[in-house]
Amino acid sequence: MRRFYLYFLLLVFSTSLASYTFGQQQVEAAALKSAWLEHFTKFIEWPNITDSTSHFLITVLGQDNFDGYLDRIYAQRKIKNRPVLIKYINAPEEINDCHILFISSNMKKHLSSIINLVNAKPILTVSDESGFAEQGVMINFYKENNRLSFEINISNAQSSELDMSFRLLELAKIVRKNE
């Protein structure tokens, strides 16, 4: 019930409020992106999530663009039926085992090294900067016709240990890694 309530709230944000003030739009986009992270997990299986896994780990690398929505949403919400732990780091070196790694746009310089670092691991990489997907981030948010969308780097998604549902792929714009 509670979840529905939240959804309701989210939808209210996403459909009505978000449409006419820029500031509000920004806020609303941050909330949407925070919510979508959970949505992505519905279509993705992590091989390292087992019965002994106690928490679902989200690591935000670099500048936090979620305006605190992430903490607020996942304070109550569970992902994969587990409580969510959110860690904010600023250096690629700090990257440890997590389930979702959000790479901020200010990590552009380190992107390839970050990708290389996590590529072999069952970590879903998410970003919000155009061109990031082409460089190896699995899911990248972008705006199209004033509407939030996402693109998926199919090459990286496929090469990773993650099992990504084709239904997610259908919803995304598919990009391939630049060779």
Binding site: R3, L11, S14, S149, R167, L171
Partner: protein, 601 residues
């Protein structure tokens, strides 16, 4: 039901087979259609639910990421399923997320929102609500509006196909039934034909040829056996009938051709029930007459007499009864017979015994006559002999020659009398025994000769004798007998003329006709008294004491005339005269005939 019953067996069998096939097909068809319809409906529903599920699965992402175009894209994939007319994706709040409808269908309004899974059928339409869930979380609902026209037409098509196949099977089974029923109906029809032939032509030599060993085969055997028995019985019956017919004919002939009358009467009424020809002839009745027998009896109480005898003994033996027939002929019959059927009927034989009865009466008369003759003859023969004996005894003691001479004369007279009597007796005997040949007679000559024979008699010369003959035809008869008649009549007329009158006469008149000869002798002599007149033809009857005759004269005349089939009538008045009329048959026209009256014994 009666029309069905009157159908031929082959039609009935065909009908039965067809009916069974029809109902088997019908029940199969119905069962199959029910299960097929259910199956198809289930399949159809299931496939549509699966479609809804799939669409729901695919819609989760678009709903999650608010990708309405993606939702529309997914719904547009439904174009491949033409039965789905409209489809909606509701989000979890009941708002329409995406919609789809085929070009063909116009959608009026929107379907109601429901979170619950349901399948509902409307008219040619199925509505499916399928919730969209993922990992137990509700995201929205898929609504499908599916046309069931295809399903219905499919079912209809299938139904028509099945009906067609059934009709085909029915047709085939008709053909088979038609072939198969022959197995049963043909032997039966053969039997029917045989039975028809037997009854129509009475031909019991008909046999049916057995081919199977089933119940019909047994029926054939029984039929053959039955017909065989009938045939042999019929042959037996024919033989019996022929024997009976022969026997009946034999007895009928015996009955009908019998000279003895056989008849049958009802005891209660005395009515004649049936009789053979002889009985009718004897009784003088028309053939088939049902007269009451008692009406024929002359003595009316004979019936009760016969009845009481019959009831007492149970039979009648030679009961003689005198009858008067309807033609007034009086006859004597003898009846013998028995009672039958609890004394209801009398069956008897009847003899006409009239002749023997007459013969018996004649015999009695003859016997009486013989007695009387012996008495009179012995008396008349004895009396001259006794007078002669007396005269002889007297003459022993008489010496006077005169007296003796007188005695002798008296003896002579007695002897002459005796001789005359014996002569008469000879004539009589002769008349009874001998038939002389007939010849042409000159009656006038005979009369005159006869008269001249008596000219010696006393007073002859005084009598005026006239003879008148009218002879238009010749007269043929027995001369001897005619002479006897003439002699007796003329001698009587001469002998008994009256001596005291002055003109005694005798008139003899003869008229000869073609078939008769009438002789009338008339005199004015003594005549005969009224008392004597009926007895004058009796034997030995003498009318007068002073008669010298034998008393046989007129008896002989009567006998002779009877012999000649003639008739005599004597009219007389005492003291006035006598007239004798004799009519004799003239045999001139049938010359060769001899009067044929046999001698009475």
């Amino acid at each position: 039901m009666k029309t069905i019953r009157n159908l031929s067996i082959s039609t009935k069998l065909t009908l039965i087979i067809l009916l069974v096939t029809f109902f088997a097909l019908l029940s199969g068809l119905i069962l199959y259609m029910i299960s097929a319809v259910n199956q198809q409906k289930n399949d159809f529903t299931n496939s549509m639910v699966v479609n809804a599920n799939l669409i729901g699965e695919y819609s989760i992402g678009p709903i999650m990421f608010d990708d309405k175009r993606g939702g529309t894209d997914i719904l547009n994939k439904l174009k491949g399923i033409p039965e789905i007319q409209t489809a909606y994706i509701f989000d979890s709040t009941g708002n329409i997320f995406s919609s789809y409808n085929t070009d063909k269908v116009k959608v009026n309004g929107f379907p109601a929102f429901s979170k619950d899974e349901s399948v509902a059928f409307g008219s040619s339409v199925m509505e499916i609500y399928e919730p969209i869930t993922l990992a137990g979380e509700y995201y929205g609902t898929i609504y499908l509006n599916v046309s069931t026209n295809v399903l219905e037409s499919k079912i209809k098509e299938q139904f028509l196909l099945l009906v067609g196949v059934s009709a085909g099977i029915l047709l085939l089974s008709w053909v088979f039934a038609h072939r198969i029923q022959v197995l049963i109906s043909k032997p039966l029809l053969r039997l029917t034909d045989a039975a028809k032939r037997v009854s129509a032509d009475n031909d019991y030599s008909v046999r049916v040829n057995k081919k199977n060993n089933d119940e019909i085969g047994i029926l054939y055997d029984q039929f053959n056996e039955m017909v065989k028995q009938i045939e042999s019985r019929q042959a037996q019956q024919k033989a019996n009938e022929a024997a009976i017919k022969k026997s009946v004919e034999k007895y009928r002939n015996l009955y009908e051709n019998s000279q003895v009358g056989i008849y049958r009467t009802d005891v209660e009424t005395g009515r004649l029930l049936e009789a053979n020809d002889a009985a009718y002839r004897i009784l003088g009745l028309k053939h088939g007459s049902k007269i009451e027998m008692s009406k024929l009896y002359i003595n009316s109480n004979e019936r009760s007499k016969i009845k009481s005898i019959a009831l007492e003994n149970g039979y009648i033996d030679n009961y003689e009864v005198k009858l008067k027939r309807p033609d007034n002929k009086v006859i004597w019959v003898s009846i013998s017979g028995k009672l039958f059927d609890n004394n209801q009927y009398f069956e008897g034989v009847i003899h006409d015994i009239t002749e023997s009865k007459e013969n018996f009466i004649n015999l009695k008369k003859a016997n009486f006559e013989l007695d009387s003759f012996v008495y009179h003859a012995s008396h008349d023969l004895r009396s001259p002999l006794l007078s002669i004996l007396g005269l002889v005894n007297l003459s022993k003691y008489e010496t006077d020659p005169e007296k003796l001479h007188e005695f002798m004369a008296m003896i002579k007279k007695s002897i002459q009398k005796l001789d005359a009597l014996i002569a008469d007796l000879l004539v009589l005997s002769r008349d009874n025994r001998i038939d002389d040949a007939i010849q042409t007679i000159d009656v006038e000559k005979q009369v005159k000769e006869c008269i001249s024979n008596y000219d010696f008699l006393k007073g002859f010369s005084k009598i005026d004798i006239t003879v008148n003959v009218e002879a238009d035809y010749t007269f043929v008869s027995d001369l001897t007998r005619l002479t006897i008649i003439l002699n007796n009549l003329l001698s009587n007329a001469i002998k008994y003329h009256r001596k005291d009158i002055a003109n005694p006469f005798i008139n003899v008149s003869v008229v000869i006709k073609e078939r008769t000869c009438e002789i009338i002798v008339e005199d004015n002599g003594e005549g005969i008294s009224k008392d004597d007149l009926p007895k004058i033809f009796d034997m030995f009857y003498r009318a007068t004491q002073n008669s010298e005759g034998s008393g046989l004269g007129l008896y002989i005349v009567k006998n002779v005339i009877d012999k000649l089939d003639g008739s005599i009538k004597i009219e007389s008045k005492e003291g006035e005269g006598t007239r004798s009329i004799i009519i004799l048959p003239n045999h001139a026209s049938s010359h060769k005939l001899i009067p044929s009256k046999t001698t009475i014994n």
